[in-house]
Amino acid sequence: MAELLQYTITGLAVGMVYALIALGFALIWKSSSVANLALGQLVLISSWFTYSMLVQAKFPYWLGLPATILFAVFLGWAIERFTLRPLIAQPILAMITVTLGVAYFLEGVVTFVWPVSVASLPRFFPQEPVHIGSAVISQQYLWAAVISLILFGILSLFFKYHKMGVAMRATADDQMAVQACAIPVTSVFSTSWIFACVVAAIGGVLISSIAGIGNGLIETGLKSFSVVILGGLDSFIGCMVAGPIIGLCENLGGGYLTTIIGPGIKDIIPFIIIIIVMIIKPYGLFGETRIERI
């Protein structure tokens, strides 16, 4: 029974990390109905940039981490300005594919600038794990979970009460009406992409401090898609709920099913969940059902 507790705790913690990355996706979808398929690569490049700041350039924490946030801001702005703004009125296929192109490009840039391919960040938190009952959880996971919750709180409040947040929700609903109200749609898009990149950067730094930097981050990004699908593409609370669910399924499945089915079942569980969700309830737990008319 002790291992059940361990699986649960680890699953919840890992799930909060997935939820954090998924928040970035939901943010962009909520404000501009663009699917950002470059999530994993955004996380990757932010982590590598943090590495180059903290390890290669040896900046202290109070300088290196804000530098990473600035880089993420710049990256979000650049992606939106150069790849998405020219495609504003194009069909959805073009938008999705251009994010694929961005993903490919970022992967190339990472291999180009840091061919060393694997590295580890210096540890931000003490190594001593926290004991909960008979299970242990490393402090990094706890901090990741806490930061995810804080970010979720901030984003939800922003979207509900701040002027820009309301503008973003309006843009997702009806772009032309927003333009008629003299809100610049382009700055709404820019802001949403900047936020998303910053969230991805924070998530990346947290995950890489746990597991090291490497192409595994892209796979983590792919698993965040399953969080997004399960929770509903445009719902923050969906991310927060679906993240731990996916993490739990992954770890419990990995723990108990490995002896029955074989090794590696842990990796595929999120994607099987995607297929199941698609068949049963395509719009997720908290998502809005789209009604289409001719």
């Binding site: 999705i96 192109g101 961005v102 061919p115 994607f271 297929i275």
Partner: protein
Amino acid sequence: MDLPSGTRNYDYATDMAVLRTKTHWAFFIGFLIIVFTAPLYLRDNWLGIFNLIGITIIAVTGLNILVGYCGQLSIGHAGFMAVGAYTTGILTGSLGWPFLVGLLCAGLSAGLIGIIFGLPSVRVKGFYLAITTIAAQLIIIWIINHWTSVTGGFMGMNVPRASIGPLVFKSEASQFYLIMVIVAVCLLVAKNLARGRVGRAFIAVRDNDLAAEVMGINLLYYKLLAFFIGCFLAGIAGALLAHWTGFLNGENFTLTDSILYIGMVIIGGLGTTIGPIIGVVVIRLLQQGIIFISPFIENAIPALSTGFTTGLGPMVFGLVIILFLILEPRGLAHRWTLFKAAYRLWPFSY
């Protein structure tokens, strides 16, 4: 199609003809002669590159039918190729069945798996379908990697060379002929599909599927048919790839490859028959070019760490995909049509 002035069509056959004038036929036969005599003057490594181009053309033609004609975004094509490749590997390798039977079964099995994973397309579209196909690809590759008793798991599997009767396709030249013949057949099938009833139904589904259903096009049948045909061609391409490399491993069919195929379709031109050919040739030659100049660049800029040129490829392709989508979303096929029209109308080609 633009025709020179003075060419009149008096019946349906000439109106629908692909090669209408004598000049068309001349260019076409000339092109065929050049292609089929290529092994005489190309060395083995160039023949190998063209073999890879041929295999990719088959796969991307399938993807074009699925994405370009029917509008179902599928980012899991490499997974369906893997199904075809492993089917033929198992049938010809472990069970010793003949190559042609293996090829056909590879296509059928990939088509069937395509139908299974294409079922959600009836309920969702756009991004949701894209994610489903990504999940499909990852699940297929996972099953291949972990079903060790049948597929050899992570260690990979050896595949015997293709053989028809006593003729074994071992050298690059013999495989070149085999692949080019199959490419020609597939392109013929794709072109006729696009011109016929099925193609028109696909285009209707792509443009507005609700309206198409209202007009009487059975969405379930046609969407699944698109998946079947697209994945059938992917399966055949995968089978040829298996026989060409001789060794199969789950790592051959990654998500990055799927993204590359989508890129090829877009660069070539969605929804045209010649689009996949142009897209594939451009990207593969670009790949070879980068591999070729990598050592020179590495020696020229020793300040950067070794191995950075491996990142150059994805960077260039990503950039090319983005630029094409922004500047020329209809792809190089559209440019080619414009060029032909300009040539015909010169000096009034504005």
